[in-house]
């Protein structure tokens, strides 16, 4: 069953009165539990497509259905609630909140859940532990390496058990070995929890691990 349906989506950007198409009539179905790579060179439209799926950007035309719901008719609050309940992100630059410790960063992702502070802390520690980072729970992002930060970011993404994790070039700022470890961790979460992962990359070694690869070239999708 499709958890995401992208139907004839176009996205245009206007720069200095010139319209630049970023996505051209893209259609894509993603089934629940997939480990999907969006492959393509820089500027091909991967990030734009991820942003549309993640409901943080709106298409110029076309529809995006998320978990049987058309996201086009939702207002800003409803989209925020949808993201809080069902979608998580992993960013190329990790994007951890620098004033919070590792465990607090993970806890922060649980703000929308009705949990006691104790339960929240317990779940955050468990997520960190699954990334092998419990010993760094009290460390702030700047006290950790890039790989460690990205693992905290993955813990933050999976701790609220979303339907989909969207990862935009999650290995781009990491060395090859660390990058492979990160992808392996994502794959492990995908297998263990059944969480759908969609990630963009142009790294062939990462692409090789994907369950399905969708190529994005010049704003068009080639399955």
């Amino acid at each position: 069953m499709s958890i995401i349906e992208v139907k004839n989506v176009c996205k245009n950007y206007t720069l200095n009165k010139i319209t630049v198409p970023a996505l051209k009539n893209v259609s894509l179905d993603v089934a629940a539990g997939e480990f999907l790579a969006l492959a393509g060179p820089s500027g091909s439209g991967k990030t734009t497509l991820l942003n549309m799926i993640g409901c943080i950007d709106a298409p110029t035309s076309g529809e995006i259905w998320f978990d049987q719901q058309n996201t086009g008719g939702l207002d800003s609050d409803a989209l925020a609630d949808l993201r809080a309940q069902k979608i998580s992100f992993v960013f190329q630059n990790f994007n951890l909140l620098p004033v919070l410790t590792a465990v607090e960063n993970v806890e922060y992702a649980l703000f929308s859940k009705s949990l006691t502070p104790k339960e929240r802390r317990k779940r955050a520690e468990a997520a960190l532990d699954s990334m092998g980072l419990l010993r760094l729970a009290a460390h702030k992002p700047l006290e950790m390496s890039g790989g460690q930060q990205q693992r905290v970011a993955i813990a933050r993404a999976i701790v609220r058990e979303p339907l989909v994790v969207l990862a935009d070039e999650p290995t781009a700022n990491l060395d090859r070995k660390t990058g492979q470890e990160i992808v392996a961790l994502m794959r492990e979460c995908n297998r263990r929890q059944g969480t759908t992962f969609i990630f963009s990359t142009h790294d062939q070694k990462v692409i090789d691990v994907a369950g399905r690869v969708v190529s994005v070239w010049d704003g068009e999708v080639h399955s």
Binding site: I56, D57, A80, R83, N95, V99, Y108, P117
Partner: protein, 423 residues
Amino acid sequence: MRLALRLALRNIFRHRGRSLITISTITFGCVALIFVGGFFEDVSLQMREAYISSQLGHIQVYRRGFNEHGRKEPYKYLIDNPDVVKALLRTFPEVQYATSRLQFSGLLSTGIKTATFIGQGIEVRNEKTVSRDPGEGTRAFVKKNPESLPMVIEGRGLSDVGAYEILLGKGLAENMKAAINSPVTLLTNSVHGAINALDVNIRGVFETAQKDFDDIFIRLPLATAQRLLSTRSVQSVVIKLRRTEDTERIYKSLARMIKVKKMDLELRRWEDLADFYYKTVALFQTFYRVIRLVVGIVVVLGIFNTMNMSVMERITEIGTIMALGARRRGVMILFLLEGLLLGCIGGGVGTICGIVVVRAVSKVGIVMPPAPGTTSEWLATVQIVPSIILSTFVLAVLVGGISSLYPAYKASRLQIVEALRYR
């Protein structure tokens, strides 16, 4: 909420130097407001008590009709039985003293110079406590040592109930060039309209806070004044209460009692007669409002600058928390919380510092030049006024919130994708 508070608090101290400057601005503003407010309060309080002590008392009792017609025919509205009135007043434990007065005007002559005067016949024993009378000091209008400055600045105070002696106001004494213990003649109309004269000795020269009063008034024993006016009546009974705050309550009780007993009397409160005091207090309040506005604007600009910079530096973070599912309102609350916390911290520190500064300054006191219409230097202190302290703290918190409204709104309106792309 706890995590949001922790996040807000840590973001405040992310740039310690900048936050310290902002908190110092709020602190300084709070200290200034508490100090100036307390200073104005002290000046008003001293002025009020000086008026009450030196001239007005808390409540004045007159024969009915005196306040309306007494100016034209003062002797038609005299109280014939002041002891009955005083006996009535003694039933109120809040009344410290009640004393009779008889006021009249006339000519004062040394044989060389003549001047008009207003005479005040007083009960010597009572007026020592009711007024800031010879020998008695008060904390108001006194330089350096508030308790010991004699109000009789030359000669001595009135000695006896029926002695033929007077005290001259400072200005009048200077004008008459009258020497202590020298004789003068008082010339006035008796209550029956006849011209009457009395030779009296100048016992001393007094000074009050009011120059106008000192320029024209003389004081003499009530019995002497009654002899001069050929009457046994008095014009008013002046009541001094133990606490000024009881004035309204006692006034109402007395008014009720006078009505029930159908007494031919009427009352005036000190507030009804202290027009200058109320105008001065109103002026101070306007000054204070202007100062509060100026301080408020300075603090608003300080916090606004800090919060605006904070938003600009954290655009990617704002994008991240919105991508994680925070609503726009949630982002706004986060920044408002930071502004309110800044206001709370600055207001808290400012309040404590304000109290410390006020206490320190009050220990030493501030020597002030004579106020308009007065002749004496005086020692000001600064009052710790709970309502001013509370309103200053609330103002600091409110200003913190108001200053961060626009930055918070700006943060909440960011486009997530652009915020995430921002470097």
